[in-house]
């Protein structure tokens, strides 16, 4: 019994000494903590400039409150630019509270890949961080936050609000973007944020394929795009109010031609049916192009395995010549 008590005492002592950080300077709590709320990346030819919006917390004097600072640095890669940024401050940046990752729409495919890989490697960055696209990543954090501590957290609220009001489901969380990159289409849709006279506006969305921005849509077009891709929840846009929407996908291959049918079923609570269907048809024609930005190949590969085996090696040819029909049940 005595031996057990000594043993338990020793184990507890070892645990207390080793697991509570009492090992020296590296773990000494700094007087100021730099909590990163959002990061942004801008292309500078072959280099990347990283911007970090931080909340600086004074741990020794809570009366001083928190303050917001923006830092930037450049590097050959995303990781290098963030390391240089951290080196400028000579304090570790804490990414545990990073809620936003903004990418410049002009980033090359490889640079975008570096951003994704760095965020995965840095386990501090939350997989649920929101990703956005912008052409003003260099001045994004210069805006004044309106309702929260930082512009980054403001934008999270704006994105949620647009999704709730307009029914657009961006699926732009970091993990959703990574998951979409693993699908056949490698297609994802990021909210597009514009900065105008010191104010940020979520003005639409950018469609990316293989880490490269391929199309830019304004809000209404974005909502119609989401209807076509079955990513629309209840919401309003223009003069329309739509709820309970579901888009069924059907596909057939006849005489070397793909026949794709999209059955859009929804409750049109407000707006003219003919006008809406006309807008959907025009959006489909405008966005169709030679690249499948609707992710039809994901649907085909999951639902029509034999058909997919036939078309996959020459999918672009089949897609370009495909007959796409939209049917409505409003």
């Amino acid at each position: 019994m005595k031996f057990e008590k000594i043993f338990i005492f020793l184990i507890t002592l070892i645990l207390l000494l080793t697991l509570t950080g009492c090992t020296g300077g590296v773990y000494r709590q700094p007087d100021q903590q730099y909590l990163v709320s959002g990061i942004a990346f801008k292309r500078d030819k072959s280099r990347i400039i990283a911007f970090a919006e931080t909340v600086v917390v004074n741990t020794e004097s809570t009366e001083q409150g928190v303050s917001r600072h923006i830092f930037s640095a450049s590097g050959n890669t995303a990781e290098e630019s963030l390391l240089n940024l951290s080196g400028k401050i000579s304090k570790p940046l804490l990414f545990d509270h990073c809620g936003l990752i903004a990418v410049d729409k002009d980033l090359s495919s490889e640079q975008f890949s570096q951003v994704i890989d760095y965020c995965k490697k840095n386990e501090q960055i939350n997989l649920a961080a929101y990703m956005i696209s912008s052409e003003n990543t260099d001045i994004l954090f210069d805006c004044e936050p309106v309702s929260t501590l930082t512009v980054s957290y403001d934008l999270l609220g704006v994105i949620d609000r647009v999704e709730f009001l307009n029914g657009i489901k961006f699926h732009n969380r970091y993990y959703e973007v990574c998951a979409n990159k693993l699908r056949e289409s490698r297609c994802f849709f990021l909210p597009f944020v514009l900065v105008n006279k010191g104010e940020y506006i979520l003005s639409g969305g950018d469609v990316y394929i293989d880490n490269k921005m391929v199309d830019s849509l304004e809000l209404t077009e974005g909502a119609l795009y989401c209807l076509l891709t079955d990513n629309f929840s209840d919401g309003k846009f223009e003069d329309f109010e739509i709820s309970d929407s579901k888009t069924r996908f059907e596909c057939d291959l006849r005489e070397d031609t793909l026949f794709i049918t999209l059955n859009i079923k929804a409750d049109l609570e407000k707006g003219d049916y003919a006008y809406l269907s006309d807008k959907i048809e025009r959006t489909l024609e405008n966005l169709r192009g030679n690249t499948d930005i609707f992710g039809f190949k994901d649907r085909i590969s999951r639902k029509y395995r034999n058909l997919w085996n036939t078309v996959k090696d020459n999918y672009n040819f089949y897609y370009t010549n495909a007959k796409i029909e939209v049917k409505y049940e409003f």
Binding site: I14, L19, V26, L35, N126, L127, Y175, A179
Partner: protein
């Protein structure tokens, strides 16, 4: 231990938490695809059938007996030796995965050897205490684990995508077997060890404890698997080192986007500690039978 009736609930919860063990850290497996959830369900029902088929055989083999001759004794000694070896392998696998998680995620700056020594010491200590200690620890641990798993599931619900598990086309038998086998071999088959543990403790394996233990453990583990797959999709989850921990990390609260993954560490600690302690307990019992 022979007060069977008092420990029915304890045994059920012990069995459930044993099943979860290290599986809760690593599921879904790296080979998972869109049919992984179907594979899990299939493996669960197959293992239910296997457990009930093997129950009378295990009861016969692992309850104490008098050997008729030295040949029979030799066969049983070999059986006990193999059982001890399988328990050791299972304990090692569980310990390795837990230590890997702790050294990469919880305590990255602490030496993994120190973490390992402390954890092994606790597991050995627990297994050398009276077995009622493990049963009582399992009782309250499973309740806490289940509450935590259910709470995280509910908190993640709004971000779930049902099309991550929807089957747009029925899988072929080859695809189904490919998804079922890993769950069957690495998650459900080791469950037989906890039945052997029951036989060693109570001189019989209860049907009720087996059914409820497997079901409760299966459902709780299913919730953790669904949490990852519904959130990330099977291909992305399968590529993560610790899918469930990553899934929980997406639950954020407060104005500073604060994470809640710390609450999940107890789940892994309790499941792995109990599983390893039970395996050590089985090894102890088998050694006693071989040399006793």
């Amino acid at each position: 231990m022979n007060s069977k009736a008092n420990y029915t609930l304890h045994t059920i919860f012990l069995s459930a938490i044993f099943l979860m063990g290290n599986a809760v850290i690593i599921l879904p497996f790296p080979s998972a695809d869109d049919k992984t959830f179907l594979g899990y369900i299939f493996a669960f029902f197959v293992s239910l059938g296997v457990c009930f088929l093997l129950l009378p055989i295990l009861n016969n083999l692992y309850t104490k007996r008098n050997f008729k001759n030295s040949f029979q004794k030799a066969i049983f000694i070999a059986l006990y030796g193999v059982t001890a070896l399988l328990s050791a392998i299972e304990a090692y696998r569980c310990f390795y995965q837990y230590a890997d998680f702790v050294s990469k995620t919880v305590l990255p700056k602490v030496s993994p050897i120190l973490i390992s020594l402390i954890f092994i010491a606790i597991a050995i200590y627990l297994s050398f205490r009276h077995s009622s200690v493990i049963f009582k620890f399992s009782l309250f641990s499973f309740v806490l684990v289940f509450i935590a798993v259910a709470a995280f599931f509910i908190m993640s619900y709004k971000n779930f995508r049902l099309d991550n598990i929807s089957l747009l086309q029925l899988p072929t038998s080859k695809e189904l077997i490919k998804q079922t086998l890993p769950y069957l071999l690495k998650v459900f088959l080791p469950f037989l060890l906890v039945l052997i543990y029951q036989a060693c403790q109570f001189e019989r394996i209860g049907k009720k404890q087996t059914l409820w233990g497997l079901s409760l453990g299966g459902i709780t583990l299913c919730l953790t698997l669904l949490n990852s797959v519904l959130l990330f999709g099977a291909p992305f989850s399968a590529g993560l080192d610790f899918p469930y921990a990553s899934a929980i990390s997406t639950v954020t609260v407060g104005y500073l986007f604060s994470r809640m993954d710390g609450f999940s560490y107890f789940i892994y600690f309790a499941c792995c500690l109990i599983k390893i302690s039970v395996c050590i307990g089985i090894i102890k019992s088998m050694i006693k039978r071989i040399f006793g």
